[in-house]
């Protein structure tokens, strides 16, 4: 057991370029070091109901550990805040506060994004099967839900990034609908 952990530590210490694929934990390690970040996003949704995609854009902000705010500006103003297990949604129809687990439609995606950003691997491993590809400059993390309730809604969440920044969050739903969020980090 001890020998194994020493070996893992050695591998982790190697320069990332030296390996074919990055380990998920290495990505989280880098991300966990980020205490605060802001970014712009453009989200494109392809829905079977519609003959054309719907597009939304706005800003994202993250504060360690685990506070996420997604502010949509176009087409309509909406703020989604996640703090702990609570999700708060403010839009034209008012303010709603809901438990994350009550709305897996939103919660699953939030857990994936926040878990990645905060490097909270325990929460991620609990809910998702993780696979990482690429290297530290261009990594891709594939999250496949473990729970049946979430599997009914989501096939996978694919998060791509570069170093300590997220560049894309792509969600494929079980009914075939897809959402693709492109992220550009604001330079401080």
């Amino acid at each position: 057991m001890k020998a194994l952990s020493v070996a893992i530590m050695l591998v982790m210490a190697l320069p990332a370029e030296a390996r074919a694929d990055i380990a998920p934990d290495a990505i989280f390690h880098t991300l966990a070091a980020v205490k605060t970040s802001r970014a712009h996003f453009v989200e494109t949704r392809h829905l079977a109901m519609l003959t054309a995609p719907v597009i939304a854009s706005g800003t994202l902000s993250y504060t360690a550990s685990g506070h996420v705010e997604k502010q949509t500006l176009v087409p309509a103003s909406e703020t989604l805040t996640i703090d702990g297990d609570t999700l708060t949604l403010v839009n034209a129809s008012g303010t709603r506060t809901i438990g994350l687990s009550d709305v897996p439609e939103i919660g699953a995606l939030v857990i994936a994004m926040r878990g990645t950003l905060s490097g909270n691997t325990a929460a991620l491993h609990q809910h998702y099967e993780l696979t990482a590809t690429g290297d530290s400059a261009h990594w891709v993390l594939l999250l496949q839900p473990r729970e049946a309730a979430v599997q009914r809604l989501i096939q996978y969440v694919r998060i791509a990034g570069s170093g300590a920044s997220l560049t894309e969050v792509d969600t494929l739903q079980t009914d075939g609908d897809e959402s693709d969020m492109r992220i550009v980090e604001d330079r401080p």
């Binding site: 829905l47 109901m49 719907v54 949604l89």
Partner: protein
């Protein structure tokens, strides 16, 4: 009368009474001590307290362990009792537990939605709704909207759910309700049995406790979990147990003390048995009278009644102390006892008119009991024990008493001090909070408060708009006429409202909504036009067209349609009926301006009810009634005294010490408890009943005679011991009556002895 005949009559009477009792129905339902409420609001209130949906609610809180563990415990408990037939509903906060409610809202959305008007599905409105849908699909809630969009593009279901989802404001951990701090996990259960059915409430309580224990032992890390439960049923079950235990213990101790006193005085065990014969016969007669008069006998009536006719022990004491003196002594004793008994009966007769069934029963019990006890003391005891107590009690010399001038000065000083004490409290202060009546322990009430606060129930459901009508449809229609008024008040005078018609509209309103739905050709054409230029797939809204068409001719929804949903329980809590008709209550949250709300509601023929004021008002009514009854009782006693004693001076001589005792006892109660309660009043009535006996003895005393103080002192000692012990009870009713009578009886004896002048010899 022949001795044999006396005994035969006595035994046959007891046997007949025994037969009546054997066939009598005994109840333990605490509501006998709630009044026959005079107004409809109060009646609904009392019914709600007894049997309403709120009375069936049990609230469980678990803390003392990390919230993950307590949430798991709650979930485990919920799973265990979910299939238990005793519970109509078990909710731990899991949204899936509300699946039946969601289905109901979705299935009947076109009959339920207040938005359905003839123009709701016009081309323009549909176009607006579709544009809004597109926005929703790109929002964070898109995944949720998507599910109902094809069948419900105007979002009626989500709007209805949003309107009713007050559960959504509760915090949750892992899907389980927690308090706002997130340290306590919560579970709500609704029993099938009404809150006043304490036997079945006890079973339900046991089932939840067992479920908790079973889950706790199985769950690692749960050993230190702390389980708290409340609910009207729980409070009732605990109070009943405490009442039984304390009545048994305290009256056991009191009887023991009285027996010891009698044994010490008369030194013959047989006298002890004989001394209880009048009381025992009185109890039998009392129960039988109540069974005949009321059809059923309350357990508490028996428990208390025994206490109330405790004065009958005195009858035996007087007999045993007078009998050795021979026929002459007895000839003087009987008129006094008869008069004392008649005075007590006159005083207690007022209780017959009490709005509390329980107190009315007590009144009858006491009257029948005292008459029977007197008859047994008068006719049976002399047959069984012609010589009374073998030895005469030593007579206390009259010089024990202070000289008249000093006595009057002393009593005057006490009266003055008492008046000052009462005045310092700005007149008698009353305990007008209804919880002071509650037999629930302070610990239980504090658990109740903290759990309700944790569940966010503390301030809710205090104000209601109240309508009445002859049937269900009438009250629903009345409520619907209120809705526009309430809508205009929302955001200003009130924060929000929750009307039963949001759950179940009147049939008339449902028909109006059906008539407002367009026919399928019109709707299809308008929808086609409304979606022109929008990127919806052709044919996407087929389910919508189909459902609207079906809703136009669907059967109306009724309370039965609600079966199996949590909303049914809520509806039952809001809509009630009894023999006088139906009532519907719309709860108003965040009321800021009661006057304007009251005025606005009054215009529509509805009343604003503040449950706290109404329930405290109920108490105020009981208290006024108690004061009135006590006053009537006093008047009846005075009238009787005047009729018998004739001379105003003699009447005054008897009344003055009693008045002083009542005044001083009131002052002492105020000094000790700061408040007088309704129980103080009953205690004072009892004080006067007992004290008047003493005064009658003193009134008959002839100057130069030794003071008959010894027998009175013994009787008084028994009373003070018996009631004094009750005053140690934690239960307000026992403590209130016990303390008042113990103090009052003693003061009556002392002031009677000092203030009543002996008759002049030969007068």
């Amino acid at each position: 009368m022949a001795k044999g005949a006396v005994l035969a009559i006595w035994i046959v009477s007891l046997a007949v009474a025994g037969l009546v009792i054997a066939r009598a129905q005994f109840t333990t339902d605490m509501s006998a001590f709630l009044p026959r409420a005079p107004t409809q609001v109060q009646r609904v209130l009392v019914n709600q307290i007894r049997d309403g949906a709120a009375s069936r609610l049990l609230l469980v809180g678990i803390d003392g362990v990390p919230v993950e563990v307590s949430a798991a415990l709650i979930r485990g408990m919920a799973a265990r009792v979910a299939s238990d037939r005793q519970f109509a509903m078990v909710q731990d906060g899991e949204i899936s537990g509300l699946a039946a409610d969601g289905k109901y809202l979705f299935a009947h959305r076109y009959l339920l939605s207040p938005a359905i008007t003839p123009t709701h599905y016009s081309k323009d409105n549909l176009h607006k709704a579709l544009l809004d849908d597109l926005g929703q699909l790109s929002s964070a809630t898109g995944g949720i909207v998507k599910q109902t969009l094809p069948a419900d593009p105007t979002g009626e279901t989500l709007a209805l759910a949003g309107r009713l989802a007050d559960e959504g404001t509760m915090t949750r951990h892992d899907g389980v309700w927690t308090d706002a701090k997130g340290t306590m996990s919560l579970l709500a259960a609704q029993t099938v049995a009404p809150g006043s059915d304490l036997d079945r409430q006890e079973q339900a309580l046991g089932a939840l406790e067992q479920a908790f224990e079973a889950v706790r032992t199985a769950l690692p890390g749960a050993q230190n979990a702390h389980f708290a439960i409340t609910g009207p049923g729980v409070l009732g079950v605990h109070a009943r147990a405490a009442m039984k235990r304390q009545t048994k213990q305290l009256s056991g101790i009191a009887s023991g003390v009285v027996a010891a006193l009698l044994l010490a005085a008369f030194r013959r065990p047989s006298i002890l048995v004989l001394a209880f014969l009048p009381v025992a016969s009185g109890v039998v007669a009392g129960i039988a009278a109540v069974a005949l008069g009321f059809g059923s006998v309350h357990g508490i009536t028996v428990g208390f009644g025994v206490t109330l006719i405790g004065e009958a022990v005195d009858y035996a004491i007087y007999y045993f102390t007078y009998a050795p003196g021979g026929a002459a002594g007895l000839l003087r004793l009987w008129p006094i006892l008869r008069m004392g008994m008649a005075l007590s009966v006159a005083g207690f007769a007022a209780m017959l008119f009490s709005g509390f069934t329980g107190f009315a029963q007590l009144g009858l019990f006491t009257m029948a009991g005292l008459v029977a006890a007197y008859l047994v003391a008068r006719f049976v005891l002399p047959v069984l024990t012609p010589r009374g107590g073998a030895s005469r009690l030593p007579n206390l010399p009259a010089r024990l008493l202070p000289p008249p001038k000093l006595a009057w000065g002393l009593c005057g000083a006490v009266a003055l001090a008492s008046c000052l004490e009462v005045v310092s409290h700005e007149g008698p202060r009353w305990q007008d909070d209804i919880t002071s009546l509650s037999p629930a322990s302070a610990a239980d009430l504090s658990v109740d408060r903290s759990l309700r606060a944790a569940a966010g129930q503390d301030d809710q459901s205090r104000y209601f708009a109240f309508v009445t009508g002859r049937d269900l449809q009438a009250v629903l229609q009345e409520t619907e006429t209120l809705v526009p008024v309430l809508d205009s008040l929302t955001g200003e005078a009130i924060r929000s409202y929750d009307a039963p018609t949001l759950i179940l509209p009147s049939e008339q309103r449902q028909h109006e909504r059906q008539a407002a739905l367009p026919d399928s050709a019109t709707l299809a054409a308008d929808l086609q036009a409304a979606s022109a230029g929008l990127p919806f797939q052709p044919g996407l809204f087929e389910p919508f067209l189909r459902d609207v068409q079906a809703a136009r001719t669907a059967p109306v929804i009724t309370p039965d349609t609600l079966l199996g949903t949590a909303m049914r329980l809520k509806f039952d809590a809001m809509v009630a009926h009894d023999t006088d008709g139906w009532t519907a209550m719309t709860s108003l949250a965040g009321l800021r301006d009661p006057q304007s709300v009251e005025a606005a509601l009054a215009e529509q023929g509805a009343a604003l009810v503040d449950l706290k004021t109404a329930s405290n008002g109920l108490l105020l009514d009981y208290r006024r009634e108690a004061v009135t009854l006590a006053a009537c009782g006093s008047l009846a006693m005075t009238a009787l005294l005047v009729a018998v004693l004739r001379k105003p001076a003699r009447v005054a001589a008897v009344l003055l010490p009693l008045a002083l005792a009542v005044l001083a006892t009131t002052a002492l109660s105020l000094a000790g408890e700061h408040r007088l309660s309704i129980f103080t009043i009953f205690g004072l009535l009892l004080t006067v009943a007992v004290g008047s006996n003493y005064c009658l003895f003193f009134e008959r005393r002839v100057a130069g005679e030794p003071l008959a103080l010894s027998s009175l002192a013994l009787a008084n000692l028994c009373t003070v011991a018996g009631f004094g012990i009750l005053s140690f009870s934690a239960i307000p009713v026992l403590r209130g009556i016990g303390g008042t009578v113990a103090i009052g009886a003693f003061l009556s004896l002392v002031s009677g002895a000092m203030l009543i002048p002996p008759r002049r010899a030969g007068a």
